[in-house]
C-alpha cells in the first residue's frame, strides 16, 4: 500500500490558485524531494500534509486513512505523527534547547524520565548535548538548524517534512547536515518529504525527485 497519497488536491489563497489537481504517491521510508521555483506551491504541499492547511478539493491519505478531504481536516496536525522543520526553523525563543525538545514529548504524554532520556539521546545524536540549557538566540545558525531537526525527530514521527531548512547555509555545512539527516533517516526509518529549489540539496538527499511548476489559475 502507498504510504502517503495526495489525490487531486487543489488549494487557493484569496482566489489565487496555488495547487491545482495535484496527485502524488509517496512510499514508506522514501526520501522525496519537491523541487521547483519559488511560489510554485511546494511549501503549501508540506503544510497540507502536516494538516496546517486544509485542501479546497481532493483527498490526502496516510497509511490508507483519509486525513483531509475537500475543506475538512479529518485528522488534526498533532494526531498525524508528523515532524516538521520550518524554513525559519520556528524555535520557541522563550524556551531552552531542552525545553524545545521536551514540549512535544510532554504533549504526547511521554513519562518525564523517559522524555529526558530521549531528549539527551537526540541532542547527543546531533552533537548538541552540551548546549541543552542554551536559548535559541545563543546558538549559531548551524546549531539552530540541528536543534530544529532534533525537535522534529524527538517525538519519533513517521513522516518528516522539511521546508528549505538548509537554504541559508554554505555548501560545506549543507553537506554535513545532509549527512546527519541521512544517518538519522536510516536509524529511525521515517519518510522524508523535503522542499527545495536548490540542486545541490536535491542531489544530496533525494531518493526520488518531484519537479513542480508554477500553477496556472484554473479556467
Amino acid at each position: 500500500m502507498t504510504y502517503i497519497e495526495v489525490d487531486r488536491v487543489s488549494k487557493s489563497f484569496d482566489e489565487r490558485v496555488v495547487i491545482n489537481q495535484l496527485s502524488l504517491h509517496i512510499e514508506r521510508s522514501e526520501r522525496l524531494v519537491l523541487f521547483g521555483p519559488s511560489g510554485c506551491g511546494k511549501t503549501t504541499v508540506l503544510r497540507l500534509l502536516a494538516g496546517l492547511e486544509v485542501p479546497d478539493k481532493g483527498e490526502i491519505r496516510i497509511e490508507g486513512q483519509i486525513v483531509a478531504s475537500s475543506g475538512k481536516n479529518l485528522v488534526p496536525p498533532e494526531k498525524r505523527n508528523v515532524g516538521m522543520v520550518f524554513q525559519d526553523l520556528a524555535l520557541w525563543p522563550h524556551m531552552t534547547v531542552q525545553q524545545n525538545l521536551m514540549f512535544g514529548l510532554n504533549a504526547r504524554g511521554v513519562k518525564k524520565r523517559e522524555a529526558h532520556v530521549r531528549v539527551r539521546e537526540m541532542l547527543h545524536r546531533v552533537g548538541l548535548e552540551h548546549r541543552m540549557d542554551a536559548k535559541p538566540h545563543q546558538l549559531s545558525g548551524g546549531e539552530q538548524q540541528r536543534v530544529a531537526l532534533a525537535r522534529a525527530l524527538v517525538s519519533r514521527p513517521s513522516i518528516l517534512l522539511m521546508d528549505e531548512p538548509l537554504s541559508s547555509l554554505d555548501d560545506e555545512r549543507k553537506g554535513a547536515i545532509a549527512s546527519d539527516l541521512l544517518g538519522l533517516q536510516s536509524q529511525f526509518g521515517f519518510t522524508l518529504v523535503y522542499v527545495t529549489h536548490n540542486q545541490t540539496e536535491t542531489d544530496l538527499l533525494a531518493s526520488r525527485v518531484c519537479r513542480m511548476r508554477d500553477v496556472q489559475p484554473a479556467a
Binding site: 494538516g51 496546517l52 496536525p77 498533532e78 520550518f86 520557541w92 512535544g104
Partner: protein
C-alpha cells in the same frame, strides 16, 4: 576638527528637550517644592501628610481600588482578548469595538450613566454605587479595553510558525498554555501594570462616586484649599508608585523582549458547542458594561431644548476641546514618530521607560507640577494660554504615539532603510522618502489615538486649562453641580460624538484581516 553634529542627533536632542520640558521639569519642580519649605530643606509636608489621620486610609483605598480593578480587568479582559484573537466566536469584532467604547469617553461618563440607572432602582443600589463597589464597576468598564486590546494585539503578534510548530504535537490548549501565552506575556503584564497605575491615579470617578482616594485628596488640596505643599506631598507617592510600576514592568520584560520575523493570524480555537453560550455571555457583558449605563446617560439627551441649552452654555468648550486635542495630537504624532524611530532596535530604553512613566503618572500630579513650574510672571505666556494644556497632553500621552509608531516601524524591514543608506541618502532624506511614506497608516492611527486620549482627558483639562478656556470634559464636570440633567446628557452626547467619530474612522483605517486556518 571635531566631528560634525548629525541632523539625527539634533532632532533627537530637540525631541528629548520637549519631553523634558513638558514632563520631567514639572515633576522635578514638584518633587523639589515638596521638600523645600520657607527657603530651606524640610520634610514637614510629608510629616504632616503621613501623620494625618487621613493619609493611610486614603492610600489604602487607592491601592485596594487599583488592585480590584486590575483583577477584574485581568479576569475578563485577558480571556476576552484570547477569544477575539484566536477563536471562531460569533460577532467577535462587534463585541470588541463595543467593549472599547468606554475607553474613548471621559471615565466619569460611565459613572454618570450608572447614577441614572440606580436613580430608577432605589436607595440600596445607590448606596452600593456610591462607594468602593461602584468605583470598581465603573473603572473596570473603562479600563477593560486596555487588557483586552493589548492581549489581543500581543497574541496576534506571535509568529504563527511558532504556534504551528507546537500544533504538530499538541492540541490548542497546550499550544495556548505553553507557546502563545508565554510569548504574549510581556504585552499582557504590561496591560495589567497599566490598568493598576491608571486606576490608582484616577480622579474623576472616585470623586463623582464619593470614594476618597489619594488623587482626590491631592486635587482638593490644590483646587479647594490652595495648599500647594500638601497637594504636592499627596501627589509624590502617586508619582513614585508610577515610576516603581514602570520599573517592575521593565524588569519583567528583561530577556522577554521577543522579536518575530513574521507575524500572522491563525485561528485555532474551535468553540463548537460553546460558541452560542460564549456569544450570549459576551453580549450580556456588553449590555451590562456599555449599553445599559450609556443608554441611561444619553436617554434624555435628544430633546431640542436640552441640546440648545447645552450648546449655549458649552458650545465654545466643544470647539476648544476639538481644537486643543487636534493641535496636541499633531504634535504628539510627530514627536511619537521621531521617538519611535530613535527607539527602534531596542535603543533609548531609558527614554522609553520615562515616557511610559509619564503616561502612568496621574494627570493630577502632572498638572500640579505644570502649574508650579509655569505660574511665574516671566512665563505667563504659557501659564495663561492653552500652551500649558498642550504641554500637559504632550507629556502625558507621548508614550501612546511613541509605542504605536514603534510597533508600526518594526513591521518595516530595516533593509529598506539600509538600502537607502547604501545609496547615499542622509538621515533626513531617508526619513521623509522612505520611513514616512511607508508609515502613513501608522501616523493616522497615532494621530487618532492621541486625539481621543486628549479629548477624553479630565485632570489636565480641569487643572491646566487657561482661565475661561476650559475644554468640554472639565466644563461638563463644572456644570454637573447645577445644570439640568437633560442638558448634561446632551453635552455628554456631543462629547461622545466628538470621540466616536475618530473611532469609526479608526475602524475604517484598520483593514479587516481575514482569518484562515
Amino acid at each position: 576638527m571635531g566631528r560634525p553634529v548629525r541632523a539625527e542627533t539634533i532632532v533627537l536632542g530637540l525631541c528629548v528637550a520637549l519631553v523634558a520640558i513638558a514632563g520631567l521639569a514639572p515633576i522635578a519642580v514638584m518633587g523639589f517644592e515638596s521638600v523645600w519649605h520657607d527657603g530651606h530643606f524640610s520634610l514637614d509636608h510629608y510629616r504632616e501628610l503621613i501623620s494625618s489621620a487621613r493619609f493611610w486610609p486614603l492610600f489604602g483605598n487607592s491601592i485596594q481600588l487599583a488592585l480590584a480593578t486590575t483583577t477584574v480587568c485581568g479576569l475578563i479582559g485577558v480571556p476576552a482578548g484570547i477569544l477575539f484573537a484566536k477563536s471562531d466566536l460569533s460577532l467577535r469584532s462587534g463585541f470588541m469595538w463595543l467593549l472599547t467604547v468606554p475607553l474613548v469617553l471621559p471615565p466619569y461618563f460611565v459613572a454618570l450613566g450608572w447614577a441614572r440607572v440606580v436613580a430608577r432602582i432605589g436607595t440600596i443600589a445607590s448606596d452600593w454605587l456610591f462607594g468602593f463597589g461602584g468605583c470598581v464597576l465603573v473603572l473596570s468598564s473603562v479600563f477593560l479595553p486596555i487588557t483586552m486590546l493589548l492581549t489581543f494585539a500581543s497574541i496576534l503578534n506571535v509568529d504563527r510558525r511558532l504556534e504551528e510548530a507546537a500544533r504538530l504535537v499538541s492540541g490548542w490548549p497546550g499550544v495556548l498554555r505553553r507557546v502563545t501565552l508565554p510569548l504574549s506575556a510581556p504585552g499582557i503584564v504590561f496591560s495589567l501594570v497599566l490598568v493598576f497605575l491608571l486606576a490608582m491615579g484616577e480622579l474623576s470617578v472616585p470623586s463623582f462616586l464619593r470614594y476618597p482616594t489619594l488623587p482626590v485628596l491631592s486635587f482638593t488640596q490644590f483646587a479647594a484649599s490652595y495648599n500647594f505643599g500638601a497637594a504636592t506631598a499627596a501627589a509624590v507617592p502617586l508619582a513614585a508608585i508610577a515610576f516603581v510600576g514602570v520599573l517592575v514592568e521593565s524588569a519583567f520584560l528583561r530577556d522577554r523582549d521577543y522579536t518575530f520575523r513574521s507575524t500572522g493570524q491563525t485561528l485555532f480555537i474551535s468553540l463548537r458547542h460553546w460558541k452560542s453560550p460564549l456569544a450570549a455571555l459576551m453580549a450580556a457583558l456588553c449590555f451590562a458594561l456599555v449599553i445599559l449605563p450609556l443608554s441611561a446617560l444619553f436617554a434624555d439627551a435628544f430633546s431640542p431644548a436640552a441640546m440648545h441649552e447645552a450648546m449655549q452654555r458649552a458650545g465654545a468648550s466643544v470647539v476648544r476641546s476639538v481644537m486643543y486635542s487636534a493641535v496636541a495630537a499633531t504634535i504628539l504624532m510627530a514627536l511619537g514618530f521621531l521617538l519611535g524611530h530613535f527607539m527602534r532596535g531596542g535603543r533609548q530604553r531609558v527614554l522609553s521607560a520615562f515616557t511610559l512613566a509619564l503616561f502612568a503618572i496621574p494627570g493630577t500630579v502632572l498638572s500640579i507640577g505644570l502649574v508650579r513650574l509655569w505660574n511665574t510672571p516671566g512665563t505667563w505666556f504659557i501659564y495663561a494660554t492653552p500652551a500649558l494644556l498642550i504641554l500637559g497632553y504632550t507629556a502625558q500621552y507621548c508614550a501612546v504615539t511613541t509605542r504605536l509608531s514603534l510597533a508600526g516601524l518594526m513591521l518595516i524591514p530595516t533593509s529598506l532603510d539600509e538600502a537607502g543608506r547604501l545609496s547615499g541618502a542622509m538621515w533626513a532624506r531617508r526619513l521623509f522618502r522612505i520611513s514616512i511614506p511607508l508609515s502613513t497608516r501608522t501616523l493616522v492611527f497615532a494621530w487618532l489615538a492621541a486625539y481621543i486620549f486628549c479629548l477624553r482627558d479630565v485632570p489636565i483639562a480641569l487643572m491646566a486649562a487657561p482661565p475661561g478656556g476650559d475644554p468640554l470634559p472639565a466644563r461638563i464636570l463644572t456644570l454637573m453641580a447645577n445644570g439640568a440633567p437633560p442638558m448634561i446628557a446632551s453635552l455628554c452626547l456631543i462629547m461622545a460624538i466628538a470621540s466616536l467619530i475618530p473611532l469609526v474612522v479608526l475602524a475604517r483605517v484598520i483593514p479587516s484581516r481575514g482569518i484562515t486556518g
